[in-house]
C-alpha cells in the first residue's frame, strides 16, 4: 500500500510543480470547445445537436495530454528500473499511476464539462448525464493510454505513435459516452449506453494494468 500511495503522491506533486496539472487540461478542453463555433458558424441548433460528440472528443484529446510522459519521463530518469525492482507488483504500481493521471485530468475535466457544455448550447437535462458519463468513461481512456505509454516507453518520439495506438482503441468508449449524452439531450433513457460504458471501463481496469506491465517488461528487453 505504501508504494501505491507513494506513486500517487509523487505524480500529483509532479503535475502541480511542472504545470501539467488539472488547470492545463481544463484550459486545453476549453480552447478546443471554444474553437468549434468558429469552425461551424453561428448555427446554435446545429451546435447543440453535435455538442455531445464534441465534448466527448475534446475529453478524449485532453486525456491524451501528458500520457506520453507518464512513463517515458520515468524511463529517461532510470526510475522504471526501480519500479521493476519494487516490492509491489508492477501492474499495481502502473494502475496507481493511471489513477493519479486520471485524478489530474479526467476527474477535473468531468466536473467542469457541464459549464463548457453551456457554451455549446447543450440541453440542460443532459448536463448531469454528461458529467456522469465522463466520470465513468474517462478512466477507460487513461487505462488504454497506459498500455500505449508502456509500449512506446523506449521510443524517443513516442507521443505521436501513442496517439495512433490509443485513438482507435478509444472508439467504444467514445461511442457509448457520446450516446449517453445524446440520449439524455433528447430526453430518452440513457441507462443502457451508460452500463455499456461502465462495462468498457471495468474491462479496461482488469486488462490494462496487466497488459501495460507485460508491455513495459517486453519493451525494455
Amino acid at each position: 500500500m505504501n508504494a501505491l500511495f507513494a506513486v500517487i503522491r509523487r505524480e500529483i506533486t509532479l503535475a502541480r510543480r511542472i504545470g501539467a496539472g488539472a488547470e492545463l487540461g481544463i484550459v486545453f478542453f476549453l480552447i478546443l470547445i471554444s474553437v468549434v463555433p468558429f469552425a461551424i458558424g453561428a448555427d446554435q441548433k446545429l451546435i447543440g445537436r453535435i455538442a455531445p460528440a464534441i465534448l466527448w472528443l475534446a475529453a478524449l484529446l485532453a486525456t491524451l495530454l501528458g500520457l506520453d510522459r507518464l512513463l517515458q519521463a520515468d524511463e529517461e530518469d532510470g526510475i522504471v528500473d526501480h519500479l521493476l525492482l519494487g516490492d509491489t507488483p508492477l501492474m499495481l504500481v502502473l494502475a496507481a499511476k493511471a489513477l493519479a493521471h486520471w485524478l489530474v485530468t479526467g476527474l477535473p475535466l468531468s466536473l467542469v464539462a457541464p459549464l463548457l457544455g453551456l457554451m455549446l448550447a447543450i440541453e440542460p437535462g443532459a448536463m448531469l448525464p454528461l458529467t456522469i458519463s465522463l466520470l465513468i468513461g474517462t478512466p477507460a481512456l487513461t487505462l488504454i493510454g497506459l498500455v500505449g505509454a508502456s509500449l512506446t516507453v523506449s521510443l524517443k518520439r513516442g507521443g505521436l505513435l501513442l496517439s495512433v495506438l490509443v485513438l482507435p482503441l478509444s472508439i467504444p468508449t467514445l461511442i457509448f459516452g457520446a450516446t449517453v449524452v445524446k440520449e439524455a439531450a433528447a430526453g430518452r433513457a440513457y441507462e443502457t449506453p451508460l452500463m455499456l460504458l461502465a462495462g468498457v471501463s471495468l474491462i479496461m481496469l482488469v486488462i490494462a494494468p496487466l497488459a501495460a506491465a507485460g508491455a513495459l517488461r517486453f519493451a525494455r528487453n
Partner: protein
C-alpha cells in the same frame, strides 16, 4: 548510525552459469560464470564495450541472456529475487523537479524502505543540506550522493552498482568504499563496475580478458 547495520538474515548465493549475450552479430561475452555469496564484493572491470553494464542489467533481471542461467539460492518460498536487489545505473533515478527528500521518499515507498531514514541517509552521504533543494540545481556529484542514499533508505542485501564513483570527489569515493565495507560486514553482497580502486578487499572479474 548503528541502525544501518542490521545484518541480513538470509545467506544468499548467486550462481550464474554460461551467460552469453549477443549484440547484433557480435558476441559480447560467452560462457561467463559468476559465483558470489553473502559477504562477497565483486569488482567488475573490462575495457569499454565489453559488457559490464549489460551484465549488470542481466543480473538485475531487466534483460534476458541469449544463453545461460542466473539463479539466486537461499531465497524463501515467497521471495522474488528482484525485491532483494538495488540497481544503481548511469541514470540516477532522480526526478529533477522533485527534491532529494521527495525522490527518496518515493524510492522508500517503491523499494520497501523506511522514509524515516531519509535524513540519516542523506547525512551519511554528506548531502544533508541538500534535502529540500530541487534536484535540478544539484551538481552531478551531489546527485550521485543523493542517488546512493537510496541504498541506506531501503536496506537490501544485494547491491548492483554501475560506475558508482563517477562524478564523485575523493571524499565521496572513499565514502562509497566505507559503505561497501559496512554492507559486507552486515552480510550483504555487491557487484561494482568501476576501474577505480574501492579501498576494500574485493574479488575481481574482468570482462573481455582473463577472469580470476
Amino acid at each position: 548510525m548503528g541502525e544501518s547495520k542490521i545484518p541480513f538474515a538470509k545467506v544468499l548465493r548467486l550462481e550464474a552459469r554460461g551467460l552469453a549475450v549477443r549484440r547484433g552479430f557480435r558476441l559480447l561475452f560467452d560462457a561467463l560464470d559468476v559465483d558470489l555469496a553473502s559477504g562477497d564484493i565483486l569488482q567488475l572491470t573490462g575495457a569499454n564495450g565489453t559488457g559490464k553494464s549489460t551484465l549488470m542489467r542481466l543480473l538485475a533481471g531487466f534483460t534476458q541472456p541469449d544463453a545461460g542461467t542466473i539463479r539466486w539460492l537461499g531465497l524463501s518460498e515467497d521471495d522474488e529475487a528482484s525485491t532483494l536487489l538495488h540497481y544503481h545505473g548511469h541514470r540516477e533515478g532522480l526526478r529533477e523537479a522533485l527534491t532529494p527528500a521527495e525522490n527518496l521518499a518515493f524510492a522508500a515507498g517503491i523499494l520497501g524502505g523506511d522514509a524515516a531514514r531519509i535524513p540519516f541517509a542523506l547525512e551519511r552521504l554528506g548531502a544533508g543540506s541538500l534535502a529540500d533543494l530541487p534536484v535540478q540545481v544539484l551538481s552531478a556529484g551531489q546527485r550521485r550522493r543523493v542517488a546512493l542514499a537510496r541504498l541506506l533508505v531501503a536496506p537490501r542485501p544485494v547491491w548492483l552498482l554501475d560506475e558508482p564513483l563517477a562524478a564523485l570527489d575523493v571524499a565521496g569515493q572513499a565514502l562509497v568504499g566505507d559503505l561497501l565495507a559496512e554492507h559486507q560486514k552486515s552480510g550483504g553482497m555487491a557487484i561494482v563496475a568501476t576501474h577505480q580502486p574501492l579501498g576494500i578487499e574485493v574479488r575481481h572479474l574482468m570482462l573481455g580478458g582473463v577472469a580470476s
